[in-house]
């Protein structure tokens, strides 16, 4: 098992773990965190597998994609957090009404 595959496997596990958290938890903050865990998993898969080059220096394209992905994830998280605070401010609760979303 090369490190590249180890990263990718851990990434897969994080993705699944995040998915579990997203489904099971009702609290919006936990859901948002769960999505971030999932995102980290995806980035690990994307970035980790770039290390399979014969030369040793990793493939730069996935790395650039990860940076792009991270910025998008940061932005999405910011929006989600502000939205969560607004939901809490208007409804008094930090869960979604009528069941638990996903």
């Amino acid at each position: 098992m090369t490190p590249a595959f180890l990263y990718a496997l851990i990434g897969s596990a994080l993705f699944a773990l995040g998915l579990y958290g997203l489904i099971v938890h009702a609290h919006l903050l936990r859901k948002i965190l769960a999505l971030n865990v999932m995102g980290s998993g995806v980035f690990l898969v994307l970035g980790g597998l770039a290390g399979r080059t014969p030369q040793g220096a990793p493939d730069p394209v996935p790395h650039a994609m990860v940076i792009t992905g991270i910025v998008v994830a940061v932005a999405a998280t910011a929006l989600a957090l502000v939205l969560m605070l607004r939901v809490r401010a208007t409804t008094g609760r930090t869960v979604l009404p009528d069941g638990r979303g996903n």
Partner: protein, 489 residues
């Protein structure tokens, strides 16, 4: 590298024009409405120009940065892309005419609406032009986040929770899609659709990527049973936003799915997946229609109607096996008609709400006499949704029925038959009340003419599509997006 052609310039322009508009509208807040309308007109003109050049010169290719795939990102506009861009421009222009009157008098709303909507438009245009699955991810996020922000614009509790649910769903969908992109890249060393199409083989990686990307995109497209987020979001958003979401945003993820399916996955996966998508589509048609029929609020009814109509597009997947071009053309035609009709319906609903202060269907109270243009818009849009002639919906349904009958798929024929009756039932439920005197008295507010006409013009567009099948189908043939040549061979 390759010289920039006229088509390339227009292709780039329809991405950069709304972007520039968004930046300016954000910067010069007091002029946001004027800048927004200007950008909308300019973008629509650019879309028309692009369409003209693509019809004349064939598919547009543009290698961003001059590198070309697989190192760089390619933009591509074939008939299908152009059709989607025209659809976006038409609906976008109408909504841009509608929004100023809708937001007039509300402090801060115009300056918030216009940049977000123009960002959304940028995302849509970029998405329909992209030939690169990672770039598509970025456009998807651009689109999704703009849509969420717009959904929450009113700040009311139902809008906020609707937006929150929508955000969680759309992010989950994007992540699943992105993981699929990651697997495809590492499996085949490219994120360019055309390059991937040459390289992919039916390996576990492709299957996993297919599963992830399909699941993510279906969630974003709100295909039954992944539609749970759509009705609350689409019904609680401000009216112009509801129209955008239902008419355009769900089409974007469907478009990506269609592209991936046509170019990457279809040759590999056999009939099973297509059958499954068709089954879900059938479920959507029936379930969405029944739910729509049960609603007492107009906006909820229209939102569930979107769930149902989205199902029709997916009926094309099982039919494409033997009648590819007809089935896909039908899906594209239905998507186009639905965009115009559904936007018209939401805008009409917005007028009714503005007029009576509510959207309770049973209390519409002879509104046909007071807002004839608006009810006319709703009715015409309804005609197209039902698939009755003459309308774009009729052409789409005709083609889809033709494909289904030719293959003896009586199960799908039955679904379309039942679906059509159910649509008629809920549309005429609304119209029936619009003609009938209600027992309640309520105050009424004047509805600006621009709001009535925007709805009506869109609806008339949906009707006129019934007479434009030849040019539209000819456009769809540009660049052979549906692999007609291969199917015949």
């Amino acid at each position: 590298m390759e010289p920039a052609t006229a088509a390339s310039n227009w292709g780039v322009a329809i991405i950069l024009l709304p972007l520039a508009g968004a930046l300016l509208a954000f910067l010069f807040r007091r002029a946001a409405t004027r800048i927004g309308i200007g950008a909308a007109v300019a973008t629509s003109l650019a879309a028309a120009a692009l369409a003209r050049t693509v019809i004349r010169d064939g598919t547009m290719h543009h290698a961003v940065g001059g590198w070309g795939a697989p190192l760089g990102i390619d933009l591509r506009a074939d008939g299908l892309s152009v059709l989607m861009l025209i659809m976006t421009a038409t609906v976008g222009l109408a909504i841009s005419l509608y929004a100023p009157a809708y937001f007039r008098g509300e402090s801060r709303k115009p300056e918030q609406f216009w940049p977000l909507w123009l960002f959304l438009w940028t995302g849509l245009n970029a998405l329909f032009l992209s030939a690169d699955i990672f770039n598509l991810y970025v456009t998807l996020e651009l689109l999704g986040l703009a849509a969420v922000a717009l959904t929450a614009l009113s700040g009311r509790a139902d809008a906020l929770t609707g937006a929150m649910r929508y955000l969680l769903a759309t992010l989950l969908g994007s992540l699943a899609y992105l993981l699929g992109v990651a697997l495809l890249y590492h499996g085949f060393g490219s994120v360019d659709i055309a390059v991937l199409a040459e390289r992919v083989e039916a390996t576990p990686v492709v299957w996993t990527a297919l599963g992830l990307m399909c699941a993510g995109l279906l969630l974003k497209t709100a295909l039954f049973p992944l539609h749970f987020w759509l009705p609350p979001a689409h019904s609680s958003a401000p009216v112009p936003v509801s129209a955008l979401l239902s008419a355009l945003v769900v089409k974007a993820s469907f478009y990506i799915l269609l592209r991936l399916w046509l170019e990457i996955f279809a040759p590999l996966v056999g009939d099973g997946v297509g059958e499954l998508l068709g089954l879900l589509g059938a479920g959507a048609v029936l379930w969405g229609s029944i739910q729509a029929l049960r609603q007492t609020r107009l906006k909820m009814l229209i939102a569930y109607s979107t769930v149902a109509q989205l199902g029709y597009f997916f009926l094309a997947f099982p039919l494409a096996v033997a009648a590819g071009v007809t089935a896909w053309s039908a899906a594209a035609y239905l998507a186009l008609s639905h965009a115009l009709a559904k936007a018209a319906m939401f805008l009409a609903a917005g007028n009714l709400i503005r007029f009576g202060g509510h959207d309770r269907i049973a209390d519409l109270d002879r509104v046909v006499q007071r807002l004839p243009l608006t009810v006319g818009a709703f009715a015409l849009a309804g005609v197209s949704s039902m698939g009755l002639p003459p309308s774009g919906g009729f052409i789409g349904k005709w083609l889809l029925l033709e494909a289904a009958i030719a293959q003896g798929r009586w199960d799908l024929v039955g679904v379309m038959f039942l679906g059509g009756l159910l649509v008629a039932a809920y549309i005429f439920k609304v119209l029936g009340y619009a003609f009938t005197q209600a027992n309640v008295l309520h105050e009424s507010r004047a509805v600006p003419a621009s709001m009535e006409w925007a709805a009506l013009l869109l609806a008339i567009g949906a009707i006129l599509l019934g007479f434009m099948a030849s040019p539209v189908l000819a456009l769809l043939g540009v660049g052979d997006p549906f692999n007609a040549v291969e199917t015949m061979g």
